[in-house]
């Protein structure tokens, strides 16, 4: 077994999930079964293969350029409201479950 109960607790913590006891047991079983299957990848020698993070680096607008220069079209001037107006305050807060007129409200972060 690759993943232990301790791992499940640790990863749930990283992912900001609590999970019930039953969910943790299910996760232990499912993650191990999926990771066993994923082991298939170890059949491949990839020591000389570069990783591919995204597809866009295969169609840069300017093929003669290298690296990020190829994506010049994807960047813009860093100016305020460069693409569109910012959302009005009211609209940006409208979906929050707790907000005043200015801010999102959350439970206390710092104990004194």
């Amino acid at each position: 077994m690759k993943v232990t109960e301790k791992d499940v607790a640790y990863v749930a913590d990283l992912a900001n999930l609590e999970l019930t006891g039953e969910e943790r047991r299910g996760m232990l079983r499912d993650l191990n079964s999926i990771l066993d299957y994923i082991d298939l990848l170890n059949e491949l020698d990839t020591s000389d293969v570069p990783p591919m993070a995204q597809v866009s680096d295969r169609y840069g607008a300017n093929e003669s350029k290298q690296g990020s220069e190829r994506f010049a079209y994807a960047s813009r001037e860093d100016v305020l409201e460069g693409l569109r107006k910012s959302l009005p305050h009211e609209d940006a807060l409208a979906n929050a479950s707790d907000a005043d007129e200015q801010f999102f409200r959350v439970p206390k972060v710092i104990e004194r």
């Binding site: 999930l17 299957y37 994506f71 079209y73 439970p107």
Partner: protein, 476 residues
Amino acid sequence: MDLTSLTIDAARSAIQERQTTALALAEAHYARIQKEDGAIGAFLTLSKERALEQADRIDRIAAEGKPLPALAGVPVGIKDVMSTRGVRTTAGSKILEKYIPPYDCTAVARMEAAGAMVLGKLNCDEFAMGSSNENSAYHPVRNPRDLNRVPGGSSGGSAAAVAAGMAVATLGSDTGGSIRQPASFCGVVGLMPTYGRVSRYGLIAFASSLDHIGPLTKTVKDAATVLRTIAGRDPMDSTSADVPVPDFVAELNKPIRGLRLGVAKEYFAEGLDDEVRQAVESAIDKLKGLGCEIVPVSLPHTPYAIPTYYLIATAEASSNLARYDGVRYSHRARGAKTLAEMYRRSRDEGFGAEVKRRIMLGTYALSAGYYDAYYLKAQKVRTLLTRDFDEAFGKVDAIVTPTSPTAAFRLGEKTNDPLAMYLADIYTVTADLAGIPGISIPCGETKETLPIGLQILGKHFGESTILRVAQMYAQS
């Protein structure tokens, strides 16, 4: 005239020629939804006010005798992962049950600018994670061809709505097969464009290096019409490509004689249902008869696609879904004493089992000590999978495969075995990983009259070619 059986062009011309009105079309489709959707469950939210306003706009243009835009008066549905200003957008999740987006997804805005009427938002697997639509936090969608079967997923509502005549066209999203596989299960056309062809601005992110928006339609021509409408560079999405958009509709009728079509043995291996194999093989024979040259190709890394996909997609998802923290727009648990407790309990209450499973897998694959063994390894195999296609497309213009190894399965058949469910995407995920376009079109039925799908894969930005092949096949 049966208003719910029209194609895009037929609907638009009928309005232009004053044989009907956009209002009548909208009402006929709402009536159909009222009658059929109780059993199917394709819609999550209706946006009647918005649709009728658009109908009014179109009818006024028609009354003035002015030319109508390409999608004028076309009743469409939008998968509920695309933001619609003022219309609830849930991503099929309880965590966004009350979310009303303050802006429109670019693809939706372009559809409406071309005259489409948005009837409502379509059910899907939660955050587009699933292959059967059974992961919707609201209710499953049932396949209109057999209500005991799944419609496929994750764009199950999008496929079912078209199949049941509740919308002329819909938008879906495809991260591992989520447009093509449900199109195949429901007997409609589903097109995943090249990565970067269509802006994802306003699409609720699942796995950003894999997410695509595309159409589900009754005909190949309709798919070309919708793609032409939504494609092209959008400054709001830095991954949308600055590549010219051809007139996909005009290019449909170019001859296909002499095109080289690849057939990869890896897509006809163990696990492929016999009836599906026979239907796809006879489709390939038919394409040969239409003048295409059939060329054997090899995509040797195909067996590694599913494990690669489930590492990359879940890793990206674990990061993308971190934003649902109960602060700005998602569900917030009541009574938490601290911020950390509020985050956890909100996410625990808001996310369903499959979403939690994928967040856990993705977080694990990215965590210290496992990154190289899992995430980096998967990125390297992604390179190998992409090279397979590069090599094959050196010899052929398109590749034909089955869309899915089986026809639609029964509800509940795979829900207890996540791995078995993942394998339903075995023929579709590789195209997402490589970023190439693919289309699924109907190519026959099983003995139980369930639809079978033929998948045609193309080169990057080669949608015209796969649409032409699909069109010729469908017309012959």
